[in-house]
């Protein structure tokens, strides 16, 4: 059985996307072609994603004392092949520091399946939303900044997925 979680954010997102697809699809058919009709479209940088970014955070086993898991995947645009050994930088406002502070930043590498997973301190709401920041900024592919939002401030994990295109 599928459990449908109805909360404010889901409703807003669902309502917004219904509105957007409805308006766009009916108003401008043909304008909404996927970036690559033959494959996986690249992930766009999210608005606000680069806020409080610090260049070159060190690769770490864990940020601070941990307790919260940030995970995701990195794939190549077009064929969707998993990308191994890619450096993903992660930061957030946590119980151990504010977003801009160095101890709130760290990086990790994807495994052979293109997956990454980094333990970090519990993320707490900042600026009205409990959210994290992730960056792919190594240069081989185009830089992408993500800003995923947690469904609840009590969540102890968060996911973000990258589809990268050649720089």
């Amino acid at each position: 059985m599928t459990i449908v979680v109805l909360n404010r954010r889901n409703l807003l997102v669902a309502g917004g996307s219904v509105l957007a697809t409805g308006v766009l699809a009916s108003g401008v058919p043909g304008l909404l072609l996927p970036a690559r009709a033959d494959g996986l479209a690249p992930t766009e940088t999210m608005s606000g994603g680069a806020n409080n970014y610090r260049k070159g955070a060190a690769i770490v086993d864990r940020i601070g004392k941990g307790g919260f898991w940030m995970s995701g995947t990195v794939r190549r645009a077009g064929d969707g092949a998993p990308l191994a050994g890619q450096r993903i930088q992660i930061w957030a406002h946590t119980v151990e520091g504010q977003e801009h502070e160095p101890q709130s930043h760290g990086a990790t590498l994807t495994d052979k399946d293109g997956k990454f997973r980094l333990e970090m301190p519990q993320i707490i709401p900042i600026f009205g939303q409990p959210h994290g920041h992730l960056a792919y900024d190594s240069g081989e592919f185009k830089t992408v900044f993500l800003r995923p939002v947690m469904r609840s401030p009590k969540d102890t994990s968060l996911e973000a997925h990258f589809v990268l295109q050649a720089a």
Binding site: S47, G48, N51, F127, G128
Partner: protein, 212 residues
Amino acid sequence: MTRWALARVILIWAALAVAIGVPIAFAAGSEQLAWRGPVYILAGFAGIVALGLVLIQPLLIGGYLPGFSAYRGRRAHHWIGGALVLAVVIHVAGLWITSPPDMIDALTYASPTPFSPFGVTAMWAIFLVALLASLRRRLGLRPRTWRFLHMPLALVIVVGSVAHCLLIEGTMETISKAALCALVLAATAKAMIDLQVWRKRRALRGEGTARQ
């Protein structure tokens, strides 16, 4: 003053104190404060206080607060308006210091958070009303012109502030926050209906004479 009248005065002021004090007290007990710096905490509470002031404004101008006659109510409305500007300035300045890029996104309407445009729009409406109010005499604005300018802006302030506040996940407790927002909307609606602000003055007078 009869005993009943005195009880009524006490009840009204107590209800107002509860409506504004309880949400502030809940926010003051929020566990999230432990992870925030003093400037961020100050900015957050300035926002809550601002919402409380938005509740007081229609109550004053509608003459619902005992001890504030029409004249005194209007004078107080002006002062509270100034306090509202100050609270909003502290709110925005504090958030700017806490995280400049997030505040710049909000002010430029480029923020990913859905509540930001509501708050920023309400802020500009507050500033505009304050500016117009301070220039009202110099510009020679007649009451009718003033109403025509102030009422739409007042609606923008009220609706914008309430939407802004409700969508934020912060230190405020959900139920006390929703109750305060509902009171703000109700007080605004009542004052606007009672004062017949959307009716043309001339029509009002014509109706008044017709009834005599």
